[in-house]
Amino acid sequence: MNQSDFLKVVLPFKDKVFRLAKRLLVSTEEAEDATQELLFKLWRSKEKLSDYRNVEAFAMTMTKNYCYDRLKSKQASNLTLVHSNYKEKETSLDKKVEHNDTVNKVHELIEKLPEQQKIIIQLRDIEQYDFDEICKMVDMKPTAVRVALSRARKTIRQELIKQHNYGVS
């Protein structure tokens, strides 16, 4: 597999890898670094790629695991860089148009979800993978995925209603 073949395989889902990494790692720079690192890892194991039936699913699993590792090492070394980056962005985005602001609220709510629900909502509602693929990517049973997804959706909705009501009253 040469470079152009590899890129042909990888390019269709590189944005998905990036978005999932960003969902988990929050900061854009972190996500970019992670994406670069992951694509490079894939490139290094390119000989093995043809063995996987679904390279994309494999890449998403890798992304998930890689981001978990990053988050763990962040916690261990007490680095709060990610969070501060996020807050800065938040204040600047507050000044943007109202539509963007309400949309941003959803972003904030997803941010507060547990990691697993974050991943599942990212994979389902944004990337629109079907359940089989998601089960493979997160290594969970279909029922567990559905429960997590349902919880995530309900939480977001309830929080939105709550905020909306506060806004009104």
Binding site: D15, V17, V106
Partner: protein, 159 residues
């Protein structure tokens, strides 16, 4: 799509029972401009989902690190081969040099031997010359009796 139908789908959606197609329908409805007021929160959600999908990874994908690594590997291999080769060649050259040196020494020694031999030869020539002179003299001496006898004969005839 009728509102009742949408509401049904929304309930299914919250229980994570909708299919991708149904979710597509919901997305289309909620990102349009005429969303029922009591379902506004979904419009926020679906707008966010739609918008999120537009984000792309814009940086160029770098696959170079491996290449340089590979080059280093090959370079080290080439360097070690060159080193081995040069050591081998150097060793050969040194051996040749040693041989030349030995050859020169031997040549010198042989030359000295030959010079001395020539000296000895000359001396032998001188000796042999003297010997031949001596033998000539001896021969001349050998001819003396003859001359004597001839002289006697001549004397006898004269008598």
């Amino acid at each position: 799509m009728e509102l009742a139908n949408i509401e049904k789908l929304v309930d299914k959606y919250l229980d994570a029972e909708t299919t991708l197609q149904e979710e597509q329908i919901l997305q289309q409805y909620f990102t349009s401009n005429n969303v029922a007021p009591h379902l506004q929160e979904y419009s926020m959600m679906f707008n966010y989902f739609k918008q999120s999908k537009d984000e792309t990874y814009t940086k160029t994908i770098q696959l170079k690190p491996e290449k340089t690594k590979k080059n280093w590997k090959w370079l080290s291999v080439a360097a070690s081969v060159a080193l081995l080769f040069s050591v081998f060649i150097g060793n050969e050259q040194y051996k040749e040099y040693q041989q030349r040196k030995q050859f020169a020494q031997i040549k010198e020694a042989l030359q000295m031997v030959s010079i001395n031999l020539n000296k000895g030869n000359e001396a032998l020539y001188a000796v042999s010359n003297n010997i031949s002179k001596g033998s000539n003299a001896v021969q001349q001496l050998n001819t003396l009796p003859n001359t004597f006898s001839k002289a006697n004969e001549i004397l006898n005839v004269n008598k």
